[in-house]
């Protein structure tokens, strides 16, 4: 064998043998601190996410025996892919961002996550700090509390004060006023209330708001229990109204090609007079460009009893991944309490200068006036209702509802056909 051959052979052997060794790393972690993993979508550069990461760092400084491995990835599909793979491989992280609802029930039933009820009962101070928003993680026929709320949201109506003042209008209190003002705003060259549905949740949110304001939470509960149908006149009436709003140009032009970011930009550029959105919109740069105000989503004159029924509740929460290691479980509980404490949300509020949270925070002057105004929009709330379909025991019901609405706005189907699509899926649910 020549010299070069020997050298090459040696390199090959070294490389092939060294790589697996390097990859395997050290597994002797017996004396090391406990490592727990957290998977959320708060890894972006927004204020709330940055503040969240700061708190993880603070926790590790205060608890040197616990190391947090932050697996977070903000992109929705990447987050979903990573979570599904980790669950399927039996390697679910100790703390996971979770939205609860029927879509996650299968994981709760199969003990992928830990029932938090015993821990809440053992620590009344921690439990009492929460606004009662556990609905997404509690089920009548499945004992336990499978997550705790982390985000609070309510859909309100933001408006451009300048446009309204120029037009001599007050922000609408009722849907009837909204429709009348739409004509004035359109003739002044503005989109009354831009609703791009390229992101299908926008149509879904409009549907939910209109349905609960017209028919109240009782009808939604009947849908959830299967005693009402999506083909009932109540649903068709709302879908028809939405289609009318589109046809009259209330929602903007070519709305199936307009996504959420474009919707926000239209509001920020002063092209649309109103914009319905949740608490997350408070941190959108669009608001810094205009003089914005915010009022509750309008109610129907014919249904004043539903004036204070608000689309909202808990958005994301945190769930505890099942772990066989009791030390890890204890560390995860400790971190979970830290991340849902009043002190934690005070820090987030101060860091971001606003926001609304799922715990009972003491009042402060250290928030923007728009945040205060926004909080007022649901201060009189009598009930919070989430997305239509979310309470139906069928994981895909919300998505089916949103897609049918998107199809209706695209002109592919009529309001009645959209209702039929929803009803077909709804009939597949097991309501027993």
């Amino acid at each position: 064998m020549t010299r070069i051959s020997r050298v090459l052979a040696f390199i090959t052997v070294v490389l092939l043998s060294a790589l697996p060794l390097a990859a395997s790393g050290s597994t002797d972690q017996a004396e090391e601190p406990i490592t727990i993993r957290i998977l959320t979508r708060w890894s972006d550069q927004s204020g709330a996410s940055t503040a969240f990461r700061n708190r993880l760092q603070s926790f590790m400084e205060q608890n040197p025996d616990i190391i947090i491995e932050d697996l977070s990835i903000n992109d929705e599909s990447s987050f979903g892919e990573k979570l599904k793979v980790l669950i399927a491989s039996g390697d679910v992280p100790e703390i996971v961002q979770n939205y609860g609802g029927a879509g996650n029930r299968i994981y709760f039933e199969s003990d992928v996550y830990v029932d938090l009820r015993p821990y809440l009962d053992d620590d009344p101070e921690w439990a009492a700090g929460f606004v009662p928003l556990f609905g997404e993680w509690e089920f009548d026929d499945l004992p336990g509390t499978w997550g705790v709320p982390y985000e609070l949201f309510a859909i309100s109506l933001f408006y451009n004060r300048t446009i309204f003042e120029e037009a001599g209008l007050e922000p609408p209190e009722t849907i009837e006023e909204l429709m009348e003002q739409g004509e004035v705003l359109k003739s002044a060259g503005y989109i009354p209330i831009s609703t791009g549905v390229a992101d299908n949740f926008r149509g879904g949110h409009l549907f939910t708001n209109l349905l609960i304001k017209k028919h109240g939470p009782e009808f939604v509960e009947r849908l959830n229990r299967g005693t009402a149908s999506f083909e009932d006149q109540e649903v068709i009436e709302i879908l028809t109204l939405m289609k009318t709003m589109q046809d009259e140009g209330m929602l903007g032009e070519n709305i199936t090609a307009v996504n959420y970011a474009a919707d926000n930009a239209l509001f920020g550029s002063g092209e649309t007079a109103m914009h319905f959105d949740g608490s997350w919109f408070l941190s959108d740069g669009a608001l810094s460009r205009i003089d914005a105000g915010v009022v509750p989503f309008p109610y129907f004159e014919s249904a004043p009893q539903n004036r204070n029924i608000i689309m909202g509740g808990s958005a994301a929460g945190l769930a505890l991944g099942a772990s066989e290691d009791p030390d890890k479980l204890d560390a995860a509980i400790k971190l979970l309490k830290y991340l849902t404490s009043i002190e934690h949300f005070e820090y987030i509020r101060d860091f971001t200068g606003g926001g609304v949270y799922p715990v009972k925070l003491p009042p402060t002057d250290n928030v923007s006036s728009l945040t205060v105004e926004y909080a007022d929009t649901f201060s009189a709330a009598e009930a919070f209702v989430g997305d239509i379909g979310n309470g139906v025991p069928l994981p895909q019901m919300v998505e089916v509802t949103r897609n049918a609405i998107q199809g209706m706005f695209a002109g592919a189907i009529s309001p009645e056909q959209a209702a039929s699509q929803m009803a077909r899926e709804h009939s597949q649910a097991d309501f027993n």
């Binding site: 064998m1 020549t2 070069i4 051959s5 090459l8 052979a9 090959t12 490389l15 790589l19 697996p20 390097a22 990859a23 395997s24 790393g25 050290s26 597994t27 993993r37 979508r41 708060w42 890894s43 972006d44 550069q45 927004s46 996410s49 491995e69 932050d70 697996l71 977070s72 990835i73 903000n74 992109d75 929705e76 990447s78 892919e81 990573k82 793979v85 980790l86 399927a88 491989s89 039996g90 390697d91 959420y260 970011a261 474009a262 926000n264 930009a265 239209l266 920020g268 550029s269 092209e271 949740g278 997350w280 919109f281 941190s283 959108d284 740069g285 669009a286 460009r289 994301a316």
Partner: protein
């Protein structure tokens, strides 16, 4: 008559070429122009030049998303993986191209069967394997995965090419006293350079643009690759497009440079591959 037809054809081709130039350059120019805008301007005036040059988009891409470090990480992973891949493939393909025994055919088919395995179908067992080996946040593990995943296509390309290289070259090298390694290094590799460039570029692009392996197996920010870095401005509900476009511009630069350096080899590899089958 012929001259008139030719001129007409020339005008038609010119118009088509200009149109095609516009179609090709539009996404690039849109990306560059948008990298100096904010969301409102991108959506309200997508075709216009920026009213204010928002250099802060680049500052944020560099400082908040640490895009330069992400680029360096991706380049490191890509270069090491491709070098290792091509080294192993050169030896493997030479044997598969020259050996006529049945076992060589079986080994070749095993490599080709890698084509049939969609990456997503392998994610769960891979995750279990990586977890068992403690391979999270470990570049060596990622390099092994990248080499393994790109091996089937590279072996297919290089073996096919080497089969077209005359055996008389090997025999001449052996007569001159070369061993197997020397024959591969000094004789076979130089004449196979175009196909190695092609295989290398294809693998490089795959690794540089990889998202799924990086998402699953990296969680330390200092180890993040370009694909993860690009998502730094995608919030749970709000997407900041200006810094994203700035990050895209920055992360595209190495790929453009590499392509410009190797385009001749790549094109040659593709055309020769087409001729030689």
């Amino acid at each position: 008559m012929k001259a008139t037809s030719f001129r007409n054809l020339g005008v038609g081709l010119t118009v088509f070429a200009v149109f095609w130039l516009f179609v090709t350059l539009y996404p690039l120019s849109f990306t560059i122009v948008s990298s100096f805008k904010d969301n409102t301007e991108i959506f309200s005036s997508p075709m216009s030049l920026p009213s204010v040059l928002r250099i802060e988009n680049y500052t944020r891409a560099l400082l908040q998303a640490t895009i330069l470090r992400n680029i360096a990480n991706s380049l490191f992973l890509s270069v090491i993986s491709v070098a290792l891949l091509l080294f192993l493939v050169s030896i493997c393909s030479y044997v598969l191209a020259r050996e006529k025994a049945k076992w060589a055919v079986v080994v070749y088919l095993v490599f080709l069967s890698g084509f049939l395995l969609p990456v997503h179908s392998a994610l769960i067992p891979l995750t279990k394997l990586v977890s068992a080996l403690g391979g999270y946040n470990n570049y060596a593990m990622l390099i092994i995965l990248f080499v393994s995943y790109n091996a089937p296509l590279s072996v297919f390309l290089v073996t096919g090419y080497m089969k077209t290289v005359s055996k008389e070259l090997d025999e001449a090298a052996f007569l001159d006293g070369c061993g197997y390694f020397q024959t591969v290094i000094y004789v076979i590799l130089p004449v196979s350079a175009p196909i190695f460039a092609t295989a290398g570029i294809v693998a490089f692009l795959f690794i540089y643009n990889d998202l799924i392996f990086s998402i699953l197996f990296l969680s330390k920010k200092t180890l993040y690759t370009v694909s993860i870095g690009l998502s730094a401005f995608v919030g749970e509900r709000i997407v900041e497009y200006g810094p994203i476009f700035a990050s895209i511009v920055l992360s595209s630069l190495p790929m453009v440079a590499i392509y410009l350096l190797f385009q001749e080899k790549v094109q040659k590899g593709i055309t020769e591959g087409a001729i030689k089958g």
